[in-house]
Amino acid sequence: MNMLAIDIWFIIEKVALIATIIGLSFFIAMYTTYAERKVAAWLQDRRGPNRAGPFGLFQPLADGGKLFFKEEIIPLTSNRFLFILGPALAMITALITSTVIPWGASYVDGTTNIALQVADVDMGILVVFGIVSVGVYGIMIGGWSSNNKFSLMAAIRGASQMVSYELPMGLALIAVLLMTGSLKMSAIVSHQIEHGWHIFYQPLGFIIFFVCALAECNRTPFDLPEAENELNFGYHQEYSSMKLGFYLFAEYINMFISSAVMATLYFGGYDIPFVNESTWGLSPLLFSAMSFAVLMAKVLFFLFVFIWIRWTIPRFRYDQLMNLGWKKLIPLALVNMLLTAALTLWLNN
């Protein structure tokens, strides 16, 4: 396996794919901020942003422009290098996660076979976990280097929350892996296409995973690192201009990616439910485009649920958050894992 020999077309294909996915992540994140405000307005019986462009559609552009042109302030007492590294790390880790997600069915036309996935590595979903676990550093470094007690408290909260919720998330995931027998994202999707979506076999596992995903993205009801009435503003208090924008944006990209991961793990990825679309005889391009659109529909639904929860459920208290993670979710996830393991063993014999 000479995977490191340079093949120029391979590199062009992958670079194009990566650029598309990053562009898409930014675009979706941009319009999730718009959707957030519109849905909030809808839930609170208001109008929401409606000045910039038709229906306020240019509002994210206006916000972005504002952030770019704001004055850049780096506190004198802060650690300059780490202060800049913090938001950069948050953004990088948010973007890398998309590499292993299969974004659609492969484009197969004769001998050409273009997978809509940057890397289908053997470790698949574990890579996502690795990057998510590194994502804590963006928050921690930013919070510490601001040299502000509130920022530090928020960063410590965020980090401990993310480390705690990674455990039940991993345990819920093991149940899925027991059913598929592979860590590859493509194998997880094709298993669901053959045997039905995992949500029907793993409802408890999905709920645990979803709660943990909310906590990992620092979304309400688990947005303790950004609890403004306790911490002034949160770990990004000292940040201004686009550095603040990066932190806020990274959160929305994380939401987008975790929606994609949930759709892939539990909702069949790019599979269309109840029908076998591969027998329709569609042209390869249309087939790939349709599978991508289906995945996107699922992702948008999850994004809506994220926003819906934010404007419905109030924030947890910090001890409640820790109790939920360690005393309720972990035992539940362990029971779920053991039950799945026993059932898999029983059914396979």
């Binding site: 490191l4 780490l82 998510v132 550093y137 410590i156 990674e166």
Partner: protein, 172 residues
């Protein structure tokens, strides 16, 4: 053209440089960050050897969990240059001596190692993939595996006991 040697040299330089910076940094937070960088370089080496599971688990466990706790403690202790305790000169000497002993042992152990027959396969082999690794662990090496997990369990129980002691002490 094969890029593997270049990647190997790049990763090696990266790992050694990070490790050196980790030891020589004055600021403990920088030390932790350089150590994390070292872990990433080592994970890169694992990937070169096609030990993907080891690479990812190294990042999840060491870079993602253990170093976060390190960073926690160091950030909360608020170690500055001014508050840095003065190190005893004898302590430094003993440290250098101990490090030298470790070097001696390593050199002695590796001196007679046969390099030719033990050369690692680069980018090939399936021993590092999760399926093969799992089968090996749960068939051939099941007893050492279980013993090491018992060791972890005892460490966990020990940590819980120490933590509990603290609470009862405060209450009384």
């Amino acid at each position: 053209m094969n890029v593997t040697p270049y990647i190997f040299w790049f990763l090696s330089v990266w790992a050694l440089f990070s490790a050196l910076m980790m030891v020589t940094s004055r600021n403990p937070v920088y030390s932790v960050l350089w150590l994390i960088s070292t872990f990433f370089a080592i994970s890169g080496h694992y990937i070169l050897l096609n030990a993907q599971f080891l690479a990812v688990v190294n990042i999840i466990v060491y870079a993602g969990a253990i170093m976060v706790l390190f960073l926690f403690v160091i950030m909360l202790m608020n170690l500055n240059k001014e508050t840095e305790p003065q190190k005893n000169r004898w302590l430094k000497l003993v440290g250098a001596l101990a490090g030298g002993c470790l070097l001696l042992v390593l050199v002695a152990a590796l001196k007679d190692a046969e390099l030719k027959s033990q050369q690692a396969m680069v980018g090939a082999g399936s021993i590092g993939l999760i399926k093969v690794l799992g089968k090996e662990l749960f068939t051939r090496y099941v007893v050492p595996f279980e013993i090491s997990s018992l060791l972890f369990l005892s460490a966990m129980v020990g940590a819980a006991v120490i933590g509990k002691k603290e609470i009862t002490h405060q209450n009384s």
